[in-house]
Amino acid sequence: MPLAPEYFTADMVRALPSDGQRHEVVLGELLVTPAPGWQHQRIVGRLFRLLAGACDNLGTLEAMIAPADVSWGDDTLVQPDVFVVPKELAIAGETARAPALVLVAEVLSPSTARQDRFPKRALYQRQGVTTIWLVDPEQRLVEVWTPEASRPRVEREHVVWRTAEAGDLVSIDLRRLFD
């Protein structure tokens, strides 16, 4: 049975040459992204510092930053911009099967907005990522998604990260995040 060449697997993506582009596969769909711009990376850096600080205070969670592979199966391998996992999962690393992500933040850019908003967001929901932030520097807002949502909540002033166990962990001032 020939495999349709339109479909990619996690192993096919792992075997691609390192050419400066980010290669991901979401339920068989290959997503290729050029190296991010400075503004994207400034916001990624700020988010990571804020989330890592909150995780350090808590002690049980750890913030991670791209490129770091996350795979939930043979047909999926993604590299979220910033994500938070339980500490034991961070230590186990990318070999963990079916990793449970506590939070994912994707910083949108014109070339990635569509894939972040639709295929990757739907994937994160399906995998039960507790909190999904789509950070839109152009519109200066954050779309907040939860696993069951069929529409996002849009935040333009502050975005608060809270967990059921620990309550409010950090409140991010979006004006300062985007300036």
């Binding site: 639709f118 069929s150 909540r153």
Partner: protein
Amino acid sequence: MTTPLAPDFHTAEMVRAMPDDGNRYEVVWGELFVTPSPRRPHQRIVGRLLVSLGAYCEREGVGEPLTSPADISWSLDTLVQPDVFVLAPEHAGDEWPAAPRLRLVAEVLSPSTARRDRFQKRKLYQANGVEVLWLVDPDRRLVETWTPAATLPVVESERLTWQPDGASEPLVLELGAIFG
């Protein structure tokens, strides 16, 4: 509506309100897809599939085969118009059923729709329990068949066989006759 909608995010209601301008409007988990009128070879294949399915479904009583335009929606962020589909027999009546059970969907690929058919719409059909999905590729003269739990398609290049629960015998479609 109190919640402001996010940029680029569409709902089934927004799609129903689109002007009737000859384009096909669909929304899959909030993502809008606009498709111009199909070309004649595409519709030729749609017609052949409907004729074969029509005779079979009537004989076997396994559902009602239809073509789009249609209003197939499982949630407020989703409304699609499959090329050919079979509504389960419990959906009698003259209205489009809410959250329908589809026994079969066939999408005839074209260069402008292949990606959304293979990925966004295919995943939607799998997530909503469409029993069998055929992605019909006229360029390569083959059909990818998907079932709800599959992570890769089964590729058929000779014939398609479909026997839904309740049918006494399978429908066999020779692809040579479908592609002409």
